[in-house]
Amino acid sequence: MELQYRVSWWTYLIVIAVGLVLVFPFAWMFATGLMTTTQTLLVPPNVIPSPPTLEGTQEVFNRIPFFTLLLNTIIVSVSRSFITIVVCSMAAYALAVIKVPGTGVIMVLILALLMVPGDVFVIPNFAIIASMGLTNTLTALVLPSVFDVFGVFLLYQFFRGVPRELIEAARMDGASHPRILATIVIPVARSGVISLAILAVLFEWKDLLWPIVVNRSAEKLTLGPGLALLRGTYITDWNVVMAAGVMAALPMIIIFLVLQKQFIASLARSGLK
C-alpha cells in the first residue's frame, strides 16, 4: 500500500483541484443566495456578493410556504423511517430468526421485486391512494414506501448474524418473539437498523415523482418537490431560488456532518439496492 500510494506535492494539487470542482456548486448556491436580484443580473457576474444581503432569503417565505414544507419534511422523513423499520424488522425477524415455512419462496419474491423499478407502480398506487381518499395528505407520501423489499433484504442479512444462543436462551426464559426482536435482535443488529433508518430518510429526500403525482397542493409537499415549484412559476429570481436551496440543504448537510460515519456506512450498504 505504502508503495502504491505515496503522497507527494502533486497529490495535494489534484486533491485541491478536485475538491474545489466538487464544492463549487455548493459555493455558488451560497454566494447567489446572498445577492440581490439585480446583483444576479450582472454581466460578467460577481463571484462574491457585495454587499451580501438576506433579501433573497426573506423573499423565499413569500414564494413558498417554507416552514410548512420543512415541517412536512421532518414529519414524513421521521415517520417513514420509523414505520419502515417496524414493518421490515418484523418481517425480517420472521424470515431470518423464526424461519417460517415458505421463507425461501418469500426471499425469491423479494429479490425479484428488488429488480422492478418503483416508477412502474406510480399509476396504480396513485389509483389506490385516490380510492382511499388519501391524495393531498402526508400519509400518501409515507404509506406505499414503508413496505420496503430492500429494507427486509438488508435486515434479513443482519438478523441472520445474531447469535442463535442468545435467542434460544431468551425463548427458554419465556420471552415472546416481539420482545426478543425489540430487546435482543434489534440491539445486536443495530448497525443494520441504523443504516435502514438513514437510507429511508435519504430515499425520502430524493423522492420527486411520487410526491408531485399524489400531492398537488403545496401545503402537503416536502422540501424537494416544494423547491421545484420555485422554477418556472414566475420569471425566475435566482437569488431567491438559491436562498431557498441553501435553507433546505443546510439542515441536511449539518445532519450529515454530525452523523458522517453512519451516513457513509449506510450509503455503502445501499449499493445492494
Binding site: Q4, V7, Y12, I14, V15, V18, L22, P25, F26, W28, M29, V43, P44, P45, V87, A91, A94, I98, V100, P101, L109, L113, M115, V116, P117, D119, V120, V122, I123, P124, N125, L143, P144, F147, H177, W205, K206, L208, L209, G224, L227, R231, G232, W238, G245, V246, A248, A249, M252, I253, F256, L257, Q260, F263, I264, L267, A268, S270, G271, K273
Partner: protein, 321 residues
C-alpha cells in the same frame, strides 16, 4: 422411549404429550412468524401485486379523465410502437446513460484512488465527496440550472471570458445532454466511490510489491493489478448506475419543467418523464402511460440482462471471489 414406557406407563403419556407439544410449538412459531410478516406481505399485496396487475390491466384500457376505462385491446401498444415521442425518449434515456455511466466510472475511480492516499485534510475531502449524495437533489439541480443559464450563468461567463461564444445550454439538444449528463454524474458518483474504495482496500499489497520488483510503474500497476481485480466492483457500479440512469426523472423534470411547452422538452424527455407527462400532465392518458411504464420495465430488464451477460464474460473473479 419404549424402554421408559415399559418401566413407567406415565412416561409414554409424557412422551406423547411432548411430541404433541413440540408439534404445536412449531405451529405456534409459524403462526407467530406469519403474524409478524403480515403487515409487510399485506402492503406488498396491495401496493405491489395488485398494483402491478392493475397496471397491466390498465394498459389495455382507454382510461379517460371521466367515466370508466374502456377496453381497447392492444391499441395502447400499437400507439406506443408508432409514437415518435416514445422512441425519442428512449433515445434520450440511452444517450444520457451512455455518457453518464462511463463518466461515473471514471470520476469514482479517480476519487477512490485519491482516497487511498493518506494526505492531510483527508476527512474534509471525504465529507466533500459525500455531500452531493446527501444533499437535497432538487437544490443541486436548481444550482446547475442557474450555473448553465444562458444570459447570466457563470458557465457562459467563463466561456466568454476565455473568448468563446455563449451556449444556449437548456435550449439545444447537445446543451441539455451535456447538463443532464454532468448532473447525473455529480449526483451519483458518491456511492460508487465508496464501493470502489472498499474494493481497492481488499487488494493485497503483496501484489503491488511483486509487480514493482518486476519493474512495473504506478500507472502500469493500476492497469494490470488494480483494474482487473476491481472488475467485480466495477461491474456492480456500472449496472447500478445504468439502471439508475434509465429511470432518470428528477434531473430532467427540474431542469426542463413541463409547463414550458417548449421544444426543449423533446431534448429532455426520458422514458419516465414522458410516462409522467402522458399520465399526469396531459389528460386522459393513464392507460397509455401504463403501457409506457411496462415498456420501461422491459427496457430495464433487457439492459440488465445484457450487462449481466457481459459481466460473466469479462469480469475477473479471484480465487476467493
Amino acid at each position: 422411549m419404549n424402554q421408559v414406557g415399559r418401566k413407567n406407563p406415565a412416561g409414554v403419556l409424557t412422551g406423547v404429550r411432548r411430541v404433541f407439544a413440540r408439534r404445536t410449538l412449531a405451529q405456534r412459531e409459524a403462526i407467530a412468524g406469519y403474524l409478524l410478516l403480515l403487515p409487510f406481505l399485506g402492503g406488498l399485496a396491495v401496493f405491489r401485486f395488485y398494483g402491478f396487475f392493475y397496471n397491466v390491466w390498465l394498459s389495455f384500457m382507454d382510461a379517460g379523465a371521466f367515466g370508466a376505462p374502456k377496453f381497447t385491446g392492444l391499441d395502447n401498444y400499437r400507439k406506443l410502437i408508432s409514437d415518435s415521442q416514445v422512441w425519442l425518449s428512449l433515445g434520450n434515456t440511452l444517450k444520457f446513460a451512455a455518457i453518464a455511466v462511463p463518466g461515473v466510472v471514471v470520476v469514482s475511480l479517480l476519487l477512490a484512488v485519491l482516497m487511498q492516499y493518506r494526505f492531510r485534510g483527508e476527512s474534509v475531502f471525504r465529507a466533500i465527496v459525500f455531500l452531493p449524495a446527501v444533499c437535497l437533489p432538487t437544490a443541486l439541480i436548481l444550482v446547475f440550472a442557474w450555473m448553465f443559464q444562458t444570459q447570466y450563468g457563470v458557465v457562459n461567463a467563463a466561456i466568454q471570458a476565455i473568448g468563446g461564444d455563449p451556449v444556449s445550454w437548456l435550449g439545444s439538444s447537445a446543451g441539455v445532454t451535456t447538463v443532464v449528463s454532468l448532473l447525473v454524474i455529480y449526483l451519483s458518483f458518491s456511492v460508487p466511490t465508496i464501493i470502489l474504495y472498499a474494493g481497492m482496500q481488499d487488494i493485497s499489497p503483496d501484489l503491488y510489491e511483486a509487480a514493482t520488483l518486476d519493474g512495473a510503474g504506478p500507472i502500469n500497476r493500476f492497469f494490470t493489478i488494480t483494474l482487473p481485480l476491481l472488475s467485480p466492483s466495477l461491474f456492480f457500479v456500472i449496472i447500478t448506475t445504468a439502471i439508475g440512469t434509465l429511470k432518470l426523472f428528477d434531473v430532467v423534470y427540474v431542469l426542463v419543467p413541463p409547463i414550458d411547452q417548449s421544444v426543449s422538452l423533446n431534448y429532455a424527455f426520458t422514458l419516465v418523464y414522458y410516462y409522467f407527462y402522458v399520465g399526469f400532465v396531459t389528460i386522459g392518458g393513464r392507460g397509455y402511460a401504463a403501457a409506457i411504464s411496462l415498456f420501461l420495465l422491459l427496457i430495464i430488464m433487457v439492459v440488465s440482462g445484457i450487462l449481466l451477460r457481459m459481466q460473466r464474460r469479462l469480469v475477473h473473479y479471484g480465487e476467493d471471489g
